[in-house]
């Protein structure tokens, strides 16, 4: 039997889970091989994802029935435009994070083997496997296991630095995440017991909205909102994401909070679109708006760069759920709804790239200055122009300035908010953008200040450019938004164009 | 025939339960760890023994019956070991307590 790699039904998406998993196991066996294995695995994941993108745009959505058992008995992995876009982003961010981590966590430079050099690689690869599994799985219970894999590995990355604050942040994160898992699991249990299926597509066919379906959807959403740190369940995120070492922070903030949002989209837009009422959609939007405002205001008041960046994640995640009122309204906003759905995903992608860049740049600053206090950034642009430029590019994308990916996303959301007469969400978008300009201008103005920089430990240009590449990508996403836009339209759920009914 | 078997089972079960009850009462009422252990292990081993005996006539074949006996023996072994360990740790704790005063 010959491998037909070019066949349209080759199970590429399964590889994007199996490869990092296998690599994690090898990395756990031999810490000397780990950095190389991790990099190869991340590159293979990116390659598989890019090739899947080609297949998806030419042949439509790809499906793999695991074990050749079709649902409802088996589990289906499915790559639509959304899943593939997330896979590509996960590949890019993890390549960057692993490349940046090589120096700090390499067993070659540290003999005998140390705790963090050993455990970073298996855990980072488990995070990659977990988020990839969550992006492609179409089975509600399988998603639960994927989320747990991600959570445990991510919490361990939070604790990685071994400081007291890191352990506290990790415990806090786990307490929230485990509570979220319980709610999600309870919702899955009710769904299965009501409909006898776990597959999202089959659910869309069989779902009639009884009280147990409503309860299930509410419980699953509550759990996912906890895991994506949506206001008012956001308190765990900033300490956790800022306590982790820089490459781990990049994985956490760019990737780990994304699967819950994607699953939220799949549950509401694909599985149970008929459940959403206008009030509910507005309520989701209100939580998002609170997150945007509170996260931004708290970000302004921080004195450490990593905390600013982490609070900004809370704010940016708030924008994403504006997709519910904007894409999910009634028929009146029909032509614009699809734009809102695509816009929210553009924001997700550009946030992942920009946040990855920011945390890696912050990591370079920490290495250079020994801490991440804002006042120690003074004049750093002259010493570390690459990192500062990377931070600036990422900031442009986060503020939503043209021509970044963040701009494309916000522009699509803004258009649909005004076109559908929901101007209040437009105001949230604009005010949020202004606030992000304020909290990012603080660190940027310090970096580019004319005063001489304080003592700096040199960080290699190659490692600084990793953040720059991610920052550039978040800009390029906006400049060349045509191809990703078309990719996201592949197999877009009907509700994303027609609104919830 | 089956009536006699059932009656035997019920009778033995009741005796076993009585031992368990007595053991539990002892556990609750006796003053210190050693007395409690005494009540518990004696009553439990006998109680479980009677319950095993009661179930033997109900077993479908010799294989299952022997498994039941095995379980009883294992439990006794574990109980004996554990009560030894508990007693020793209680003794140790008493020693520690006596040193710094009440």
């Amino acid at each position: 039997m010959l491998l037909d790699l070019a066949a349209p039904d080759f199970p590429w998406i399964a590889l994007s889970v199996a490869i990092p998993l296998f690599a994690a196991l090898i990395a756990a066996l031999s810490s000397a091989l780990a950095p190389v294995v991790a990099m190869i695995a991340a590159l293979l994941c990116l390659g598989a994802a890019l090739w899947t993108a080609v297949l998806v745009t030419t042949h439509g959505a790809q499906e793999v029935a695991v074990g050749a058992w079709p649902p409802p008995l088996g589990i289906v992995l499915r790559a639509d435009g959304l899943a593939v876009a997330m896979l590509i982003t996960a590949g890019l961010v993890s390549i960057a994070a692993f490349a940046f981590a090589r120096q700090a966590f390499s067993a070659r430079t540290q003999t005998p083997e140390t705790r963090s050099a050993y455990s970073f690689w298996p855990l980072g690869l488990c995070v990659l496997a977990g988020v990839n599994a969550a992006f492609v799985s179409n089975d509600l219970f399988n998603l639960y296991v994927a989320l747990e894999l991600t959570t445990i590995a991510a919490a361990a990355l939070v604790a990685m630095s071994g400081s007291r604050a890191a352990f506290e942040a990790a415990i806090r994160y786990l307490m929230f995440a485990l509570l979220g898992s319980l709610f999600y699991l309870l919702g899955v249990v009710l769904t299965y017991s009501t409909h006898g299926v776990l597959d999202i597509r089959l659910l869309a066919i069989s779902a009639e909205s009884g009280p147990s379906t409503i309860a299930a959807a509410a419980l699953m959403s509550a759990g996912l909102m906890t895991k994506m740190a949506l206001f008012p369940l956001h308190a765990w995120l900033p300490p956790a994401h800022s306590a982790a070492p820089a490459p781990a922070s990049a994985l956490l903030s760019a990737l780990v909070v994304k699967p819950p949002f994607v699953i939220l989209l799949r549950i509401w837009f694909e599985a149970m679109p008929e459940l959403v009422t206008p009030t509910l959609a507005q309520a989701f939007g209100a939580l998002g708006a609170c997150g945007v405002l509170l996260g931004s205001i708290l970000a302004m008041r921080q004195e450490r760069l990593k905390l600013v960046v982490a609070y900004s994640t809370v704010a940016q995640l708030g924008y994403l759920v504006l997709v519910f009122p904007l894409a999910g309204g009634g028929g009146a906003q029909q032509p614009w709804a699809a734009g809102a759905w695509t816009g929210a995903i553009f924001l997700t992608l550009s946030h992942a790239l920009a946040k990855g860049a920011m945390f890696l740049a912050a990591g370079a600053f920490v290495e250079a200055r020994g801490n991440d206090r804002l006042d120690s950034l003074v004049g750093l642009a002259r010493e570390m122009p690459i990192s500062c430029f990377a931070f600036g590019l990422a900031a442009v994308s986060l503020m939503g300035l043209p021509p970044s990916g963040g701009f494309t996303g916000k522009y699509l959301l803004l258009t649909s908010s005004f076109a559908s007469g929901q101007w209040w969400w437009g105001i949230v978008l604009v005010v949020g953008g202004l606030l992000s300009a304020v909290y990012l201008f603080g660190p940027l103005s310090l970096m580019f200040a004319r005063e001489p920089a304080l003592a700096v430990t040199p960080v290699s240009r190659a490692r600084q450019s990793i953040a720059l590449l991610l920052g550039l990508l978040s800009i390029l996403l906006g400049l060349f938004s045509e191809a990703p836009y078309r990719l996201l339209q592949v197999d877009r759920p009907g509700a994303a164009a027609e609104g919830f009914t | 025939m089956s009536v006699i078997v059932t009656a035997t089972t019920i009778l033995l079960l009741l005796i076993g339960v009585a031992f368990f009850l007595a053991g539990s009462m002892g556990l609750l009422r006796f003053p210190d760890v050693h007395a409690r252990l005494h009540a518990l292990t004696k009553a439990d081993n006998l109680g479980l023994g009677f319950i095993t005996l009661a179930l033997l006539p109900q077993a479908a074949d010799v294989w299952i019956a022997s498994k039941l006996v095995m379980i009883w023996l294992l439990t006794m072994l574990a109980a004996a070991t554990v009560s030894q360990l508990i007693a020793r740790s209680a003794l140790h704790e008493e020693d520690v307590k006596q040193e710094p005063g009440p």
Binding site: A24, P72, R115, C126, A146, A155, A156, M160 | -
Partner: protein
């Protein structure tokens, strides 16, 4: 059909009341050690409930993992923390809200669920296809068929969760203790009662574990239940001083922990030869399933043992 209200129903109701009572006690008792012991008792009662629901595989898992292993983990933590009493709660003006809000939420969810239980028509439609396709899976126990064939992908990710938890808990080691033996150093007298027990029990435990593993294919049991028993035997042997505790840097212990998921992932990857993923071909279904289960059992045993021993620590 059974009569509307039989002695068995009475038994069930009493069992449920007991379960709820023990759960309440475990939640409210002040002494932390007592709370832990009550949780173990709770687990045993829940295992009995699973037998009553005809779910013997779950009953075994709940007794071995839910009650036994969780209990051992908690007792170990309580002992290491050397605390038994909950600290006196700080008086704050939020204290009232901090109890009332969870209480009302708990009450709301419990009553909502109870309402749903009594009013909704529930559906279980997968049992028929599970049984219909059983011949293709090579096993006779439908639960094993689901775990290692129909939904083997869940199990693959689940073993990865265990693996991640192991690396994660290793990650809590003090930096200067990395490479030391796991857990506290054991001090056992060579001729002591525990040492004798530790020598006597492992062979029996191994036999029981192998039995549960082997039976899992056709009747009740399987990799997780058997793995837990092996882990218990392993821990006992270490506690009794029969064998040494492993250290996280050891090559062999890492191989043990990784072998199961690695073989499983490898099998999953060979599925791409058939343009799919995680295929268990019908022709070799039985031997392949048993091979996967054997590797998984080994890894589960090693992982659970290491999780119970915990990170290396300084002797006090």
């Amino acid at each position: 059909m059974a009569p509307a209200f039989s002695a068995l129903t009475l038994f069930d109701v009493v069992l449920c009341v007991l379960i709820i009572g023990v759960a309440l006690c475990s939640s409210s008792v002040r002494d932390l050690f007592a709370a832990t012991v009550l949780l173990i008792i709770y687990g045993v009662f829940v295992a009995i409930a699973w037998v009553r629901l005809g779910a013997v595989d779950v009953a075994l898992a709940e007794a071995a993992i839910g009650a036994g292993l969780t209990g051992v983990l908690l007792i170990g933590a309580v002992a290491r923390l050397k605390i038994t009493e909950s600290p006196a709660a700080a008086v704050s003006r939020w204290q009232f809200a901090a109890k009332v809000i969870p209480a009302s939420l708990g009450l709301l969810i419990a009553s909502g669920l109870a309402y749903l239980v009594l009013t909704v028509e529930w559906r279980e439609t997968l049992q028929a296809p599970v049984l219909a396709n059983l011949p293709d899976t090579g096993v006779l126990n439908p639960v094993t068929a689901v775990l290692l064939n129909y939904r083997a992908y869940d199990t693959l990710l689940e073993t990865s969760v265990l693996f991640a938890a192991l690396i994660a808990s290793w990650c809590t080691t003090h930096d200067d203790l990395w490479g030391e033996r796991a857990g506290l150093r054991q001090h056992t007298r060579r001729a002591g009662i525990l040492a004798t027990f530790g020598r006597f029990l492992p062979p029996i435990g191994l036999i029981v574990g192998i039995h549960i593993f082997w039976a899992g294919a056709d009747k009740w049991g399987g990799a997780f239940q058997a793995g837990t028993i092996f882990a218990a035997v392993w821990i006992l042997a270490i506690m009794a001083g029969v064998i040494d505790a492993p250290n996280a840097t050891g090559r062999s212990i890492r191989s043990f922990a990784v072998a199961g998921p690695m073989f499983f992932t490898f099998v999953a990857l060979t599925g791409v030869l058939a343009q799919s993923f995680l295929i268990i071909p019908v022709m070799v279904a039985k031997p392949l399933t048993l091979a996967i289960e054997a590797c998984l059992t080994l890894s589960i045993a090693a992982t659970l043992m290491l999780l119970v021993l915990g990170a290396p620590r300084r002797s006090a």
